[in-house]
C-alpha cells in the first residue's frame, strides 16, 4: 500500500483516526473517513483517472463536486457495479473498489488514443458527412465500430441486489443547498415554526464554507455551520436531508429529491435500509440556495491531468488537506483565484505564478498575493501546456489589447498543477426547471434568475451574490419571506452573523485565451466540453456551417450533452458562439435545463414498484381455493382469473387443451362451475333508473319486469360497441347492471359522467358493488340438482324460475341472489353472495356437486362454450371499429327509441354501409384444423403481396362438443357470404380454405338453456 504522500500534515475535515483502504485500477491506496475518492486519489498523487469520450485523451480531476466532467469511474464489480460515477462525489469506505473506464487495455496505455491523432478529421459532426458508401457497410462495419467506441462505462450484467423506496412529504419551505445562504434561510424559516426541509447533495452541511477558511462571527465558518445545524436539529418541524440531491422541480411546486442512504457504507452492510430513497415533496414555498459552478478557461491544451478549477484546488487543500500539486500556476480572469492561491500557499503549495488575463490586478487579495511575493503576470495568457499524463509546465505570453492575439516570445514555467478560474456560473438549473426565465448579467458575465414563475426564491451565489456577508443576509431575508408566504412568522429577517467582505474587482470575460496559432489551426486544442471533447474550433465550425441556434450547436457538436449536462461548459460554448455571430450573449440565448439536476438511478425512480409489488394482482374471494387446486391463471387487466384447472397425477399434468376439453365435456353433459366474481356490478337506484338504462343501452329498458334480466349492449357516441352485460330489475326503481371485467370501472365513470353532466335532472344513484358480490356460475344439464341441494327452499322449476329471471334465496346458509342467465348455452344459475362468504359458497358448491362430478372451469373453457353459441366477447370480437349491427346483433338496437347513445352515428355514410366487416362463423374444410386467432382472411387462395384482405379470425377453438374446430371472424360483407368458401393463408405457403357460416354452432334454438 502506498502512503498518501500528498496529504497535509494537519487540517481538513477528514478523520485521521479512521484510515480507509480502497483500490483504484487494482492498486491499493489509503485515505481517511471523510475523503472523496477524488481527494484520496489526489492525496496519493494520482491525477490520471480517465480517458475522454472521443479522443481518449488522458484526463484528471477537474472539480470537487457534482459538476465534474472528467473524473468518471466505474465503481465496484459484479451485480453492484456502476458506470460513470463522479470520483468527486464518492465517499470512500473500507474495501471500495474503483476503476477507470473507456480505456483499453489500461488508462495508462489506451489504444483508443489513436483517435487523438485523427482528431483533425474527427471534428464536430464528421460522422454526418461520411460512412455512407458503400450503403451496405453502414450496418456491417461503420456503425458497429462507432458504437463500440462510444459509451463510457459498462452496465451491470446481473440484477440489482439492493432495493429502493419513496416517501411523500409536504412542507412549508423547502430549502435546496446548505451553504451560507441556505443555512441562514433554514434558520430564519425554522424559527417561525414552519415545516422546513433542508436538503444538500453533500454528506455534511455547509456548502462552500466547507472548502474555504472564512470567518463568521469571529470564529471559523465550520464552527458556525456546526452550531446552525445543531439549532436546526432541535426544531421538531425541521427535516434535515444530507446526501440528498434535489433532482427535479416540476409544476405546482412538486420537487423530487434523491437521497443516497447507504452508498457511503460498505456494500450490503445495511440490508433493511433502502439503498436510495426518492422524496416527493409538495412545497408551499421553495428557497433555492444551490450555489455556483466555477468556469474553466478555454486555452490551448487546457485538459491535461493536473489542470483543475482553482476553487476545487482550494477545497481539496482546505477540506481534505489533500495537495493536488507542489508547484502551481494560477490562471484567472477574476479575483476568486487569488483567494485560492493564498490558501494553496498556506497549505504548502508553491505558487510559481499567477497569470491574470486582466490588465490590472487590484483589490486586497491581489495586494496580499504581491505582499507574499507571488509572481503576478497581468494581461498575460497561457499559450501552451506541457506533459501528457500530468501537466509539467506551461508557456506564457503577453496579450495584445483586445486579448485576441499574443505578442513576444513564450516563457516556460514548470509546474505540476494549473489552477484556473474563468469566473462563476450561478447554479440556475432548478430555477430554470421551475420555468423561471433567466437573465444575463453583463457585469458578472453569467446567467442569473430573472422572473420567477412558481412559489420560489433564490438566494446566495445561485442568484449572483458572491460576497459572503451578502449571502448570509440574503438567506436570512429569503427564509423569513418564504416562511411568511407559507403562513408562518412576520417576514422579518433574523440578525445576520458578521463576516468580512472582499470587494471583488470586475472579471474580464475573455472566452478564448489566444495562443500562437489561430484556434483550430495548430495541434493544440482549446477544450470547451472536456467530457465530449468539444473544442472552441468545433463551436466555430458549427457556427460557420450554419448551426447557429444554441440547440443546433449543442446537438451538432454534442457540447453540454455529457453526463455533466454542460455544468462547466454551456456558458463558454454559448459565449464563443455569440462572439462568432458578433451578437450579444443574451440574444443568442441559453438552453433550457431539464431534469434531473444530476443523473438519477432507474432503481430509485421505480422504488418498490418491482417484483411482486410491480402492480396489484386483484384476486377473488375464491382465489385461495383455485391456487390450492392447481389452477393456471390468466391476467385480465389487474385481475388473476383461473384460466383452466389442469388435473395432475403420477403420470403428469394435463396440458391446456386436454383440461379444456374435459371441462367443456363436463359442462355440456354434467355440471361445471365458474368463478365469475370479477364481472363488474353496478347498483342503480332512483325513480329515473330505468330512464338512464334506456338512454345508455341500445335496446329498450323501460318495460323490463321486476325480477327479470335483460342483455344489453352499450356503445359510445360514435356508435362503436363499448361494453355489454346483463341488467336485472330488482325493484320498481332498483336495477343491478353487470359489465365486463375489464370495463367495470370505466363504465361506472362513464355513466356518472352522463348523469352528472348531460342529464343532472335524472334522479338516480350509482354504487359499485363489484366487490361486494362473489359470483359462482353453475352450468350444465345437472346444474338444477346442485342448486336444489344448496337452496332447498327455492322452487327451481322452469315455470317458477324461468330463463332470464332472478330470485333471492338462502344458499348454503347465506342469503344470495340467483340469476338464471347463461353464457354457455346450458341451463345455468349465477349465484351471488356477499364476498366475505364467497369461499364458503364455493366450497359448498363443490361438496354438493361432487356426486354429479362437478368440474371447476376457467376462462378458456368459458370462451370455447360461448363461441359454440356465437356469443361475443367485447375486446375480442370487437375493437373500436365494430357496431352492434356488424356483430349481427341488430335485434339489440331499438328502432323505436328516439335517441340513445350511439344512435346518431349509425346513419353516417361509412357506418351505414351494408358491406362492412361483419361477424360470421367459419368452418375449416379440415375439421381438425384450428386457425390461429388473428389469422387474416382472403377471397383468393394464393396471390402474392399485397393480397386484399377480407377480415380476420377473432376467436378460434377446437370444439369437443362438435368434434371439430370452429371460428368466429369479422369479414367484409360477411352476411352476404354465407356458404361461400374463403381462405386463410397461414404463411409458409400453407392456406386453409373454410366455409362462411352463421356464428352459432350449437343449439341454435336455445333448447338447452331454457331446459
Amino acid at each position: 500500500m502506498t502512503k498518501d504522500a500528498f496529504r497535509g500534515a494537519t487540517g481538513g475535515r477528514i478523520d485521521r483516526s479512521r484510515p480507509v483502504t480502497f483500490t483504484f485500477n487494482g492498486r491499493t491506496y489509503r485515505g481517511y473517513q471523510g475523503d472523496t475518492l477524488a481527494s484520496a486519489l489526489l492525496a496519493n498523487g494520482v491525477h490520471l483517472v480517465g480517458r475522454s469520450f472521443k479522443y481518449h485523451r488522458p484526463r484528471g480531476i477537474l472539480s470537487a463536486g457534482s459538476e465534474e466532467s472528467n473524473a468518471l469511474i466505474q465503481l465496484e464489480r459484479g451485480n453492484r457495479t456502476e458506470p460513470n460515477l463522479r470520483a468527486t462525489q464518492i465517499e470512500i469506505h473500507e474495501g471500495l473498489a474503483a476503476s477507470s473506464q473507456n480505456a483499453w487495455p489500461s488508462v495508462e496505455t489506451d489504444v483508443g488514443s489513436i483517435n487523438n491523432v485523427l482528431s483533425k478529421v474527427f471534428v464536430a459532426g464528421f460522422y454526418y458527412k461520411t460512412f455512407m458508401h458503400p450503403q451496405s457497410f453502414w450496418m456491417k462495419v461503420y456503425e458497429p465500430v462507432i458504437r463500440r467506441a462510444a459509451g463510457l462505462g459498462k452496465a451491470p450484467a446481473e440484477p440489482d441486489p439492493d432495493f429502493y423506496d419513496k416517501m411523500h412529504v409536504h412542507s412549508d419551505v423547502l430549502i435546496v443547498g446548505s451553504g451560507p445562504a441556505g443555512l441562514m434561510a433554514a434558520l430564519a424559516a425554522a424559527r417561525t415554526g414552519a415545516r422546513v426541509i433542508l436538503a444538500d447533495e453533500q454528506n455534511e452541511f455547509g456548502g462552500s464554507l466547507l472548502g474555504t477558511r472564512e470567518m463568521i462571527d469571529g470564529r471559523p465558518a465550520a464552527d458556525w455551520v456546526a452550531a446552525a445545524v445543531e439549532e436546526l436539529r432541535a426544531f421538531p418541524e425541521v427535516r434535515l436531508l444530507p446526501r440528498t440531491t434535489v433532482t427535479g422541480y416540476y409544476d405546482h411546486n412538486y420537487l423530487i429529491l434523491a437521497e443516497r442512504r447507504t452508498d457511503h457504507l460498505p456494500r450490503g452492510s445495511a440490508p433493511k435500509i433502502s439503498r436510495q430513497r426518492l422524496w416527493k415533496v409538495r412545497a408551499k414555498q421553495v428557497v433555492l440556495a444551490t450555489g455556483s459552478h466555477e468556469r474553466p478557461l478555454v486555452f490551448a491544451d487546457n485538459d491535461r491531468p493536473g489542470i483543475m478549477l482553482a476553487g476545487a484546488v482550494r477545497t481539496y487543500v482546505n477540506r481534505f488537506a489533500a495537495l493536488p500539486g507542489r508547484r502551481a500556476v494560477v490562471l484567472t480572469n477574476n479575483d476568486s483565484a487569488y483567494a485560492a492561491a493564498l490558501d494553496m500557499n498556506d497549505a504548502g503549495i508553491e505558487i510559481a505564478a499567477i497569470v491574470d488575463l486582466r490588465g490590472h490586478a487590484g483589490g486586497p487579495l491581489a495586494a496580499e498575493a504581491k505582499r507574499r511575493g507571488f509572481r503576478v503576470l497581468t494581461n498575460t495568457a497561457i499559450t501552451a501546456t506541457h506533459g501528457s499524463k500530468r501537466v509539467t509546465g506551461v508557456d506564457v505570453m503577453m496579450m495584445n489589447g483586445p486579448g485576441e492575439d499574443v505578442i513576444g516570445a513564450p516563457t516556460r514555467i514548470d509546474c505540476d498543477l494549473v489552477a484556473m478560474s474563468g469566473g462563476w456560473n450561478p447554479a440556475v438549473h432548478l430555477f430554470s426547471q421551475s420555468t423561471g426565465k433567466l437573465r444575463y448579467d453583463d457585469e458578472l458575465s453569467c446567467f442569473v434568475p430573472g422572473v420567477s414563475v412558481q412559489a420560489e426564491r433564490s438566494a446566495g451565489s445561485c442568484k449572483g451574490t458572491f460576497d459572503l456577508p451578502a449571502c448570509l443576509a440574503e438567506g436570512a431575508a429569503t427564509g423569513a419571506q418564504a416562511a411568511l408566504a407559507a403562513g408562518h412568522g412576520d417576514g422579518v429577517a433574523p440578525a445576520v452573523p458578521a463576516a468580512t467582505s472582499v470587494a471583488p474587482q470586475p472579471l474580464r470575460p475573455l472566452w478564448i485565451v489566444p495562443t500562437t496559432t489561430p484556434v483550430g489551426h495548430g495541434k493544440a486544442k482549446h477544450f470547451v466540453d472536456f467530457q465530449n471533447d468539444v473544442s472552441a474550433a468545433d463551436v466555430l465550425l458549427a457556427s460557420r456551417e450554419g448551426y447557429q441556434s444554441v440547440e443546433h450547436l449543442k446537438r451538432y457538436t454534442t457540447t453540454g450533452m455529457g453526463t455533466d449536462q454542460g455544468k462547466t461548459s454551456n456558458v463558454n460554448a454559448l459565449a464563443i458562439l455569440a462572439k462568432s455571430l458578433a451578437s450579444p450573449i443574451p440574444q443568442v440565448g441559453t438552453t433550457t435545463f431539464r431534469p434531473p439536476y444530476t443523473p438519477t438511478t432507474y432503481g430509485v425512480l421505480a422504488g418498490r414498484d418491482v417484483g411482486e409489488l410491480a402492480d396489484a394482482a386483484r384476486v377473488t374471494p375464491m382465489h385461495s381455493w383455485h391456487v390450492a387446486h392447481g389452477a393456471a391463471f390468466e391476467d385480465v387487466g389487474q385481475w388473476k382469473r383461473p384460466w383452466y384447472f389442469p388435473k395432475g397425477d403420477a403420470q403428469g399434468t394435463e396440458d391446456m387443451h386436454a383440461a379444456v376439453r374435459r371441462e367443456c365435456r363436463a359442462v355440456r353433459n354434467g355440471v361445471g362451475v365458474l368463478d365469475a366474481s370479477t364481472l363488474g356490478k353496478i347498483d342503480i337506484q332512483g325513480p329515473d333508473a330505468a330512464q338512464l338504462l334506456n338512454r345508455v343501452y341500445t335496446n329498450a329498458f323501460l318495460k323490463l319486469d321486476i325480477g327479470k334480466c335483460r342483455y344489453g349492449v352499450m356503445c359510445k357516441e360514435d356508435g362503436m360497441v363499448m361494453d355489454d352485460g346483463v341488467t336485472t330489475r330488482l325493484g320498481p326503481n332498483h336495477f343491478l347492471m353487470t359489465t365486463t371485467t375489464g370495463n367495470a370501472a370505466k363504465v361506472l365513470e362513464w355513466l356518472e359522467d352522463y348523469i352528472q353532466t348531460e342529464w343532472p335532472d335524472l334522479r338516480v344513484f350509482l354504487t359499485s358493488v363489484t366487490e361486494h358480490w362473489a359470483t359462482a356460475s353453475i352450468a350444465g344439464p345437472k346444474a338444477r340438482e346442485v342448486v336444489a341441494e344448496l337452496a332447498p327452499d327455492l322452487d327451481l322449476s322452469p315455470e317458477a324460475f324461468p330463463y332470464m329471471s332472478y330470485r333471492e334465496a338462502v344458499v348454503a346458509g347465506v342469503p344470495a341472489r340467483i340469476f338464471r342467465i347463461s353464457f354457455t348455452g346450458e341451463l345455468s344459475y349465477e349465484i351471488n353472495v356477499p364476498a366475505q362468504h364467497g369461499l364458503h359458497l364455493w366450497e359448498n358448491i363443490m361438496r354438493a356437486g361432487e356426486k354429479h362430478g362437478i368440474t371447476p372451469y376457467g376462462t378458456e373453457t368459458m370462451h370455447v362454450l360461448r363461441a359454440e353459441k356465437g356469443y361475443i366477447i367485447v375486446g375480442q370480437e370487437t375493437d373500436a371499429t365494430v357496431t352492434p349491427q356488424d356483430l349481427g346483433m341488430g335485434w339489440v338496437v331499438s328502432k323505436q327509441k328516439a335517441d340513445f347513445i350511439g344512435k346518431r352515428s349509425y346513419t353516417r355514410k361509412d357506418t351505414a354501409r351494408s358491406d362492412r366487416k361483419q361477424l360470421v362463423g367459419l368452418l375449416t374444410d379440415d375439421p381438425n384444423e384450428v386457425l390461429p386467432e388473428g389469422t387474416q382472411l382472403t377471397a383468393i387462395a394464393d396471390g402474392h403481396a399485397p393480397v386484399p384482405m377480407l377480415g380476420h379470425v377473432t376467436s378460434s377453438y377446437f370444439s369437443d362438443t362438435l368434434g371439430r374446430s370452429i371460428a368466429l371472424a369479422l369479414v367484409s360483407d360477411g352476411f352476404n357470404r354465407m356458404g361461400q368458401t374463403i381462405f386463410a393463408p397461414l404463411g409458409g405457403g400453407k392456406t386453409v380454405s373454410c366455409a362462411v357460416t352463421k356464428p352459432v354452432f350449437y343449439d341454435p334454438e336455445g333448447v338447452r338453456l331454457h331446459g
Binding site: K154, E545, A614, H863, G875, P932
Partner: protein, 417 residues
C-alpha cells in the same frame, strides 16, 4: 454545394475546416413571395419542401419556422422507425416511409445513421398475443416484413430481456420487424434542410406566422414576424401547434395536443442492440450510437403545450422497465423532456386538403410522426402540387370524421371478459 464524403473531410482537414459551406442557406422572405409556403420547419415540413422540389419541380418554396429547424417533435422523439401498422391504409403509408428511409442517407448525402436493428413489440397477455398475430398476418399479406416470436425467441433476439414467468406481466411473445430500427433525428431535419436548400428552397428560421390571409375563400399568403409573405399555396405542418395555426384560417381540427415524455440514460457500452416496445406496460427503449438508453414514456392524460409532462408518468414506466430489464436498475436517467404531440381520435394522421382553397394540412401524427417523416413529406408534396391526395394519403383526409371512416390504430384494448 460541396458533396460530403471522406475525401471532402480529408481535404477540409488540411485547410483546418475553414472552407465548409453552410449546411443550408438561411433566408429572409422574398418580397414577391412563393408558389408554396410551408408553415413549420420540422422534419415533415422540410421533407415536404424537398419532395416538392425533387418530385414536382416546384422550387419557389419557403419553409417558415417560428424557432430553429427540427426543434419540435423532430428533435424530441425516441427515433424509432417501423411500419408494422395494423390497417392496410397505415401499413402502406408507413412502409412507403420506411422504404424512403432505407436510401435516405445516400439520397440526401447526409448520414442520418438509419440503424435497422429490428423492433420488437412485446405481448404480455392473451389479448396482446391475439393482436400481435393479427398484425403479423396482415403485414405479411401486405408485403411488410414481420414475424411472430415466442418468448424464447424474444430472449434469443434480445438476451438481456427478462422472460421469467414469475414477473407480474410475463412476456408471452412478441412481433419483430427486422427492417425497422432507429435513426439520428436531428440529422433527418438537417439532411432534408440541406438537400431542399440545395434545390432552391428558402429556409426561414426565427420567423413566426401570425396570420393566414385569405381572399374570397382562397389563401393568398401568410402574415409573419418578418412581414407579409405572398403564397400561391400554403401547407400547415405544425405538429403540436396545428390547432393554433389552423385556427388562423378559422379551421377547426379533431386533434388535441398532449405532452409526450422521453428520457435518456448516461452513455454506456453497447448493452441492447434492438428496439424493444411494450404498449401494455408502456416501455419503449433502444440504445443510441452514443450509448445512451433512449426511452419513451406514455402520453400525459391532459392537453398541454408546455413541453413538460408529469413526473408520475416517468415513475410508473420505470417499474415496468426494470421488470423487463432488471440490469438497468443501477443505471441512471440523465435527461428528461417532453414534446407536444397532436393526437387524432383514431390515432391516425390527417394529410389533407381543407375547406379553404389552396390551404393544406398535415397533422395528427400523435406519437408516430418521426418514422413517417419522408413518407409524409412525399405524399403531402404530391397533395399540394396536384391539389389532390396521393393514393397513399387519400384515406387520411379530413372527410373521414364526417363519414365515420376512421382508421383506428389504437389497437384493441385488453380483452374485457
Amino acid at each position: 454545394m460541396a458533396k460530403y464524403s471522406i475525401f471532402s473531410l480529408l481535404r477540409n482537414a488540411a485547410s483546418h475546416h475553414q472552407n465548409w459551406d453552410r449546411a443550408w442557406r438561411d433566408n429572409r422572405p422574398k418580397p414577391d413571395g412563393y408558389d408554396v409556403v410551408i408553415i413549420g420547419g420540422g422534419g415533415h415540413g422540410l421533407a415536404t419542401a424537398y419532395y416538392l422540389a425533387k418530385e414536382h419541380g416546384i422550387t419557389n418554396v419557403a419553409v417558415i419556422e417560428r424557432s430553429w429547424l427540427g426543434g419540435g417533435n423532430t428533435g424530441r422523439n425516441t427515433t424509432i422507425i417501423r411500419s408494422n401498422y395494423l390497417w392496410d391504409e397505415s401499413a402502406a403509408l408507413y412502409e412507403k416511409s420506411l422504404q424512403l428511409y432505407e436510401g435516405l442517407s445516400q439520397e440526401l448525402n447526409y448520414n442520418i445513421m438509419f440503424s435497422q436493428r429490428g423492433v420488437l413489440n412485446l405481448a404480455h397477455n392473451l389479448g396482446d398475443v391475439r393482436e400481435g398475430m393479427r398484425r403479423v398476418n396482415a403485414l405479411r399479406l401486405n408485403g411488410v416484413d414481420s414475424e411472430w416470436m415466442t418468448a424464447e425467441q424474444v430472449k434469443e433476439f434480445c438476451p438481456i430481456i427478462n422472460i421469467s414467468k414469475d414477473v407480474r406481466y410475463p412476456i408471452m411473445g412478441g412481433t419483430l420487424q427486422r427492417r425497422a430500427g432507429t435513426a439520428r433525428h436531428d440529422a433527418v431535419a438537417w439532411g432534408f434542410a440541406r438537400a431542399a436548400s440545395a434545390r432552391g428552397v428558402d429556409i426561414i428560421q426565427n420567423c413566426e406566422v401570425t396570420g393566414i390571409r385569405r381572399e374570397n375563400g382562397k389563401v393568398v399568403g401568410v402574415d409573419t414576424s418578418m412581414g407579409f409573405v405572398k403564397a400561391g399555396k400554403v401547407g400547415i405542418v405544425a405538429a403540436g401547434h396545428s390547432s393554433v395555426v389552423a385556427g388562423m384560417a378559422d379551421l377547426r381540427l379533431p386533434v388535441e395536443s398532449h405532452p409526450l415524455q422521453a428520457l435518456v440514460s448516461e452513455p454506456v457500452k453497447p448493452v441492447i442492440d434492438c428496439v424493444v416496445m411494450s404498449n401494455t406496460v408502456h416501455v419503449y427503449v433502444s440504445q443510441s450510437d452514443k450509448g445512451e438508453l433512449v426511452m419513451g414514456a406514455g402520453i400525459d392524460a391532459y392537453t398541454g403545450y408546455g413541453q413538460r409532462g408529469s413526473f408520475h408518468v416517468i415513475e410508473h414506466q420505470m417499474g415496468a422497465l426494470l421488470e423487463l430489464f432488471p440490469i438497468f436498475s443501477r443505471l441512471r436517467m440523465l435527461r428528461q423532456w417532453a414534446g407536444i404531440v397532436d393526437v387524432c381520435p383514431d390515432a391516425s394522421p390527417i394529410i389533407s386538403k381543407t375547406p379553404v382553397d389552396n390551404l393544406f394540412i398535415n397533422c395528427g401524427w400523435g406519437t408516430g410522426g418521426f418514422k413517417a417523416t419522408p413518407g409524409s413529406g412525399f405524399v403531402f408534396a404530391h397533395t399540394i402540387a396536384r391539389g389532390e391526395p396521393h393514393a397513399l394519403n387519400a384515406p387520411f383526409g379530413l372527410e373521414r370524421f364526417n363519414t365515420g371512416h376512421l382508421i383506428d390504430e389504437h389497437g384493441a384494448a385488453a380483452v374485457a371478459h
